[in-house]
Amino acid sequence: MEVLVQLEHVSKTYEDKIAVNDLSLKIEAGSMFGLLGPNGAGKTSTIRMMIGITMPDSGSVTLFGKRYSSEALKRVGYLPEERGLYKRMKVIDQLVFMAELRGLGAAEATRRAKEWCERLQISDSIHKKTEELSKGMQQKIQFISTLLHDPELIIMDEPFSGLDPVNAVLLQDTLLELKRQGNAVLFSTHRMDQVEKLCDCICLIDKGHAVLSGGMREVKSRYERNHVIVQFEGADSFLNHPAIAEYKNYAGRAEIRLKPHADAQDLLRVAAATSTITKFELVEPSLEEIFIDTVGGRADA
């Protein structure tokens, strides 16, 4: 797979604050990359260095295999965290202007803008001024303006914040579709559930450090399946089993954490002998738990 972005040992310090510290990551074509971390962890700073808005103090950033160049940026679509649109400009004019700046001809830009507005169900608003639209609508317009020039690399800073669930799903599906077409998508978020559903690769940043990174499967497999959910009828004496480190018993449903390397199958046998088991599930840890586990409960997800 072609590597579109590569950061190697990148560090960046603002005045007296270390924003990014010795961070390395790479994003391949056709993948969805999640940049995770609590607020102020250094996600935005990292993104800004990828597209040359700021330069790293040390380390190297390569885009499409080369050091930063303004031509390379035409192959990138960037959505900043703040919703940046000209308030008094008409939607269609705005989209065409942004696309033209990225090298598209006016006619082609207009055609694509209309197509995208159709696709994201905002065709009715195409001739309205941006300031007349709701926040969610504006976000969709900015989303479109990021994609009009058909970038190979799509970088989005908190793309789903502030959207209602229906629209969030609409945009998520669009990104998945673009990924299937071979584009690389990177987005930052502090919402674990989105990353868990969408991403192939993740990088979890805390205090400018990558604390966890790699493929989603691989990251999760590093954590044991040591959570058990049991639904039962009858006696709960099996909860005293030596494999259990701690448990919560909610009348017929027990959430159990096992001791390291404990034998879950033996627990099932004992439980089945003493009560009627309707459900016995070994749960893999959610990303959220891993997140909290790693960052130490400071996450504000």
Binding site: Y14, I51, I53, T54, P80, E82, G84, Y86, L101, R102
Partner: protein, 423 residues
């Protein structure tokens, strides 16, 4: 290749700025309201001027000598702007005076003149009574009228006829000339002033409207973070130059519309005048016609670039208000210096001031209007101004570019200087 991209981006930005502004309500409103405002000011100034010239319209004369009263009355009636009515009370009584006081208080008359002279005396005791303490015009008119009447009285007593006296006392018309290029040519002080005034007015208005407009639009791009997206595709130089060109084109479009409106308004009479006497009939000489648009444009770009730089340095709309002062200050100072520069166009202060870029557009133009300065001073002033426009744009682009790194707080001067070195 890169420069072609830059040119393309610059034009795209300029086009956007131009179209957005041309379509805006503000543009339509100012395009219509400003000429109406100017016409209104002109009308009011005309009316005010007339009233001043005319002085007091209704007045009365009270005197113990009927002949003296009649002489002053006829002098006033023969003056350039004769009052509508002059009542004479000779001899006047205390009751008359009381009635006149009441009339002044009720604004039925502008004032009354008391002339008392003992028989055998040459000079009368004259008192002008009016409703206003600041009625300088009325005071002067009365003073001249009484003096004239006394002179006439003396001349009559020495046997001159009325016609002779009239011919003798007619005021002299004074022509003024000015040395230009070693020759004395007809000059018109009022016209020279008018040219400079119009430039100041137009430049000041344009800077206030469009300079602040530019600063606002820069601030908008910053606060909405549009510039993050823009800067991820275009250089800050092409963004800044594009912005200035776009807004500059809007300013020129508006000027062109106003000029066209003025021409249509002036209509055929102007065309006839042009045919007969050429440009001179417009009150403009050829160099002024060249320098006016030149200094307007250079001044406009200088102040616009300055506004863009200021807009780049601040973080919010409110801060822009505080910076308007910095923009307007050099223009205000130029206005204060106007009298001095027009009367001393070649003094050291005038020369130095005309070479300092913020003052150059107005002060150098004033000097050109008053007395053609050495060509090298004109060339140097224009060169310095043009160079400083370039420096301002460069500076604005750097500050804009660096502003990406800033969130929230307003940068201090040392911080700005540090940024300049970084970019």
């Amino acid at each position: 290749m890169l420069s072609r991209t830059m040119l393309r981006n610059t034009l795209l930005v300029a086009k956007r700025e131009y179209l957005e502004r041309i379509r805006s309500k503000v543009f339509r409103i100012t395009t219509i309201l400003v000429p109406i405002g100017v016409a209104l000011i002109g009308f009011l100034a005309g009316v005010g001027g007339k009233r001043l010239d005319q002085g007091v319209r209704q007045l009365a004369i009270v005197s113990n000598q009927p002949q003296l009263a009649a002489d002053v009355q006829s002098t006033l009636k023969e003056s350039e702007h004769p009052p509508q009515s002059i009542e004479v009370f000779a001899p006047g009584t205390t009751a008359d005076l009381n009635a006149l006081n009441e009339a002044v208080e009720q604004h039925r008359i502008g004032g009354y003149l008391i002339l008392s002279r003992q028989p055998g005396q040459a000079r009368p005791q004259a008192t002008w009574v009016s409703g206003s303490a600041t009625d300088f015009v009325g005071r002067d008119v009365m003073k001249n009228a009484v003096t004239d009447a006394l002179v006439r009285e003396q001349l009559t007593s020495r046997g001159m006829t009325d016609a002779q006296i009239k011919a003798l006392m007619k005021s002299v018309k004074l022509d003024t000339m000015q040395v230009k290029n070693g020759q004395a040519v007809a000059s018109n002080a009022a016209r020279s002033f008018a040219g400079a005034y119009v430039l100041i007015l137009v430049l000041y208005g344009a800077v206030l409207i469009y300079g602040i407009n530019i600063a606002r639009s820069v601030v908008e791009e910053k606060t909405t973070r549009i510039f993050e997206v823009l800067l991820s595709t275009a250089s800050s130089d092409s963004l800044m130059v594009g912005k200035l060109f776009g807004v500059g084109a809007v300013g020129l479009t508006q000027m062109a519309i106003w000029t066209a409106m003025a021409l249509v308004y002036a209509g055929s009479s102007l065309a006839a005048a042009l045919k007969g006497h050429g440009l001179a009939s417009l009150g403009l000489t050829r160099p002024e016609l060249v320098f006016f648009p030149m200094f307007f444009l250079l001044g406009f770009f200088f102040y616009s670039a300055m506004a863009a730089a200021l807009g780049s340095a601040v973080s919010g709309e409110q801060d822009v208000q505080q910076f308007i002062f910095i923009l307007a200050a050099p223009l205000v100072i130029s206005v204060f210096m106007m009298m001095y520069v027009m009367t001393n166009p070649s003094s050291a202060i005038s020369v130095i001031m005309s070479l300092i870029p913020p003052f150059t557009p107005i002060v150098l133009y004033m000097r050109i209007c008053a007395q053609t300065p050495p060509w090298w001073q004109i060339a140097l002033g224009i060169a310095l101004l043009a160079a400083s426009v370039w420096v301002m744009i460069w500076l604005a682009a750097r500050i804009y570019r660096i502003g990406v790194l800033m969130y929230g707080k307003r940068p201090t001067l040392p911080e700005m200087l540090r940024w300049l070195r970084y970019s």
